[in-house]
Point group: C2
Chain length 470, copies 2
């Protein structure tokens, strides 16, 4: 007898499958104010692990954490013309506080370029103060018309880096360093997500930037999702906020700046990249729960044994949860851990104890095999690394097999129904980009033929990757 599916199957309705998974795996709930979300402990555990790893990388890149206010005077936003044009429609505005109407309305930060520049202009005096490399972990608010949990929420959590440099080249190189070492390497090697590093077109750039680097991932349904981005801001904000330094030569110069961000959207990407009809599959290097040791029955000996195994695996450096809640049926607990995508389950019952074995259930390749209890601590680290590699491989194979080279806009739109298309940017250009946009397809990024990042939009041989996107 076939079991009723736990989730809406991906093939039936991918968006519904996504929503089902988020709720049933207890990653998040919708918040009461439209577009907000409650990140539940299991989902937040994924974010904490992302933060820890990225924070080390950010510090390795020389940036220091700080914290700037949530509230920005409305007048700041208007100082950089493109910036305010980009963000004005998404702002949440505080008009009353402390029981009174405010003289100047306050904007809840949608991003912090403006308020940070106000302080950079005070802190930066001389070339000795450069580069100034700042990061913050914070919440931001952008009013969303079509919210979706983790992907587009009115409030989301992120890190935003903001830096000031003495020259264009220094700023450009730093944006590139962040994009490669903090974002791309992390996504490939920790999140096991294949991502394409490219350059945004003028249309898709951050509001106020002279160049935006992006990472684009292909989701399970063939659509694209923009992940971390790094922006070269040129001197746009420096001029708007008068952020200048005294050069070695004794002249006053405007600084060159970057900003870069990555968000809780990465949790949504993880779901849509690695999830299947049974739930999430969490890459072992990220997982806050790598192994769950389950007591099948509430037998005293079994419960004592699962705790002992749990302790032994923790001592071996694994991140382990012991599930001895035997007043809940085993089958229900097993399905729940499968939904949550814990890479390995070690299942122990009375019969296993007699044989000195446990059942090893692997979430990523699937399948169950009995293993000797004594071998677990040695076996599991290798199993987890194998699973990590498999997820990255699957994600790369999906992108490769579902990306096609095309020669016309019609072919590009057709390809975008199931995956990505690659087309020479010279054949497309801003006009072709606009035509695509009218059919719901966008240029995700520009790349060179050998997968590098072009120096400019019109570098010869530049290819556009086009797709439908979240």
């Amino acid at each position: 007898m076939a079991k009723a599916p736990v989730l809406t199957p991906q093939a039936d309705d991918f968006p519904r499958w996504y929503q089902d998974l988020i709720n049933k795996a207890e990653l998040a709930d919708n918040g009461p104010v439209r577009g907000t979300m409650v990140i539940r402990p299991y989902g937040y555990g994924l974010w904490e692990r992302m933060q820890q790893d990225m924070d080390l990388r950010i510090k390795e890149a020389g940036a220091q954490n700080a914290y700037f206010p949530l509230f920005i005077p409305q007048s700041y936003l208007t100082r950089e013309a493109e910036h305010v044009e980009g963000f004005a429609p998404e702002l949440a505005v505080v008009t009353h506080a402390g029981g009174k109407e405010l003289e100047e309305p306050i904007v809840v930060r949608p991003t912090s370029e403006t308020i940070i520049n106000e302080y950079f202009s005070k802190w930066v005096q001389s070339y000795r103060d450069l580069p100034l490399l700042i990061n913050q972990w914070a919440n931001v608010v952008r009013w969303e018309l079509r919210p979706r949990l983790f992907l587009r929420t009115t409030e989301f959590l992120w890190q935003e880096g903001h830096t000031a440099h003495a020259s264009y080249e220094d700023a450009r190189d730093y944006a590139s360093l962040i994009q490669r070492e903090v974002y791309a390497d992390f996504m490939a090697n920790v999140l096991a997500m294949d991502v394409v590093l490219g350059r945004k077109t003028l249309k898709e750039r951050f509001a106020g930037a002279i160049n935006t680097l992006t990472l684009e991932g292909m989701m399970g349904d063939g659509k694209a999702l923009q992940l971390g981005t790094s922006h070269e801001l040129g001197q746009n904000f420096a001029k708007a906020f008068n952020t200048q330094y005294l050069s070695k030569e004794g002249t006053q110069e405007h600084v060159w700046q970057t900003s870069w961000g990555s968000t809780t959207r990465m949790i949504g990407a993880l779901v849509m990249m690695h999830g299947d009809d049974n739930g999430l599959r969490v890459p072992p290097r990220l997982a806050h729960v790598q192994v769950v040791v389950l007591a099948i029955k509430g037998d005293d000996e079994v419960v004592a044994k699962v705790r002992e195994i749990g302790d032994r695996l923790k001592a071996a450096g694994l991140r382990v949860v012991v599930d001895d809640r035997t007043d809940t049926p085993f089958g229900r607990r097993a399905v729940d851990w499968e939904l949550k995508g814990v890479p390995v389950r070690v299942e122990v019952g009375p019969r296993d104890l007699e044989a000195g074995t446990a059942m090893l259930a692997r979430r990523i390749p699937g399948g169950k095999t009995p293993v000797a209890l004594d071998s677990l601590a040695e076996l599991l680290p290798a199993v987890l690394e194998e699973d990590q590699a498999q997820l990255l491989r699957e994600s790369r194979e999906r992108r490769e097999s579902r990306t096609v080279d095309v020669a016309s806009i019609e072919e590009a739109v057709e390809a975008a129904a199931t995956g990505w298309a690659r087309i020479p940017w010279a054949d497309l250009g801003p006009v072709g980009e606009e035509e695509l946009a009218q059919q719901g397809v966008s240029v995700r990024c520009l790349v060179t033929k050998d997968g590098g990042v072009p120096d400019s939009d019109d570098a010869p041989g530049t290819l556009a990757i086009v797709a439908r996107a979240y």
Copy 2:
């Protein structure tokens, strides 16, 4: 010739000294919106270390991190009558978003009891779901009429714990566990701050609580500062939000709850508890920079040597910064590190190299002595522990020497000019508390004769600690 003081001396003007120190040690700046603050990297580094240590303690106490929305529908606040009365005057309200006026105004969270109860009422079904132990690290907003950096800011950072339990006793015991293990022990053993653990009077309780436990610290000027608090919420919010569970006996019961919080105010406490006329003194166990190794001159050999020493001390597990910015005068850098309160400076010049020594400058006891370079890695951990103990001792001695037993309200007010007074609560009572309040003095907490926490306000022998407070 006497040096001009770097800071306004404490004895001249304590509040001005505080403000000077915060700015000159680069801990924080005032934000552009009244009462907000920019936490600069050196100040934020202190907060990160506090977070790391407390987060481990919170997890040790069984709570899991999650994240609830910044935006709360205004109607939620009004469901618990005392709660809304307490917070209404301090709320910031979003009335417009996405270019439109909102149908229902949104409150920027001043604390999260209401929105969290909305979800607890969904998540808690049966006694099996209890206790439910949740914590979040977040920003909150309370409109402040008399803001002061770190002590009272419109926006501040904190952790707020929220728990639900099956019985009154479980909730009471959990609030007490948090107050002792997460807050009091952390403040004494990491922040080196002597604090008094007591019970708040009815007047001073959290809005909506049936009991509030507090920690009160005596600042350098003899005033009190309230630090971490834990609240027993009884069933007040459970009834307002209908948070019920099915008991083992098959009946529907309201849960018993706690909430507890500690904030960036602890950074202000650190300044006012340990700072002196030369700047901050950071307790070594907290310090993100425990040791700074300074090159006195820009000689190649000296610079190579300070880097080598820095690496060696890092390898010994110390948190070290190497200061080889020899284009800035040595004296200015030394004063700056003194302002920032780094516990130990290792100063290296050409003459020291010849002798195989360095100058060891200790911020906490003061003074400089030459030490052999080879002995540093072994010597410093003991030096730092000694300094840690000294700070705690000084803080305890200050509190003990400046607390007096009094028998009348007049004496209490007089004592509060320079320190704290202790008076039997039976002699004071709510009427005496009101009289004190009219003279700017408050009951900080109630304690038992032997320094414990009374079970109720009217337990025989209860003492009130009264003081002026920040």
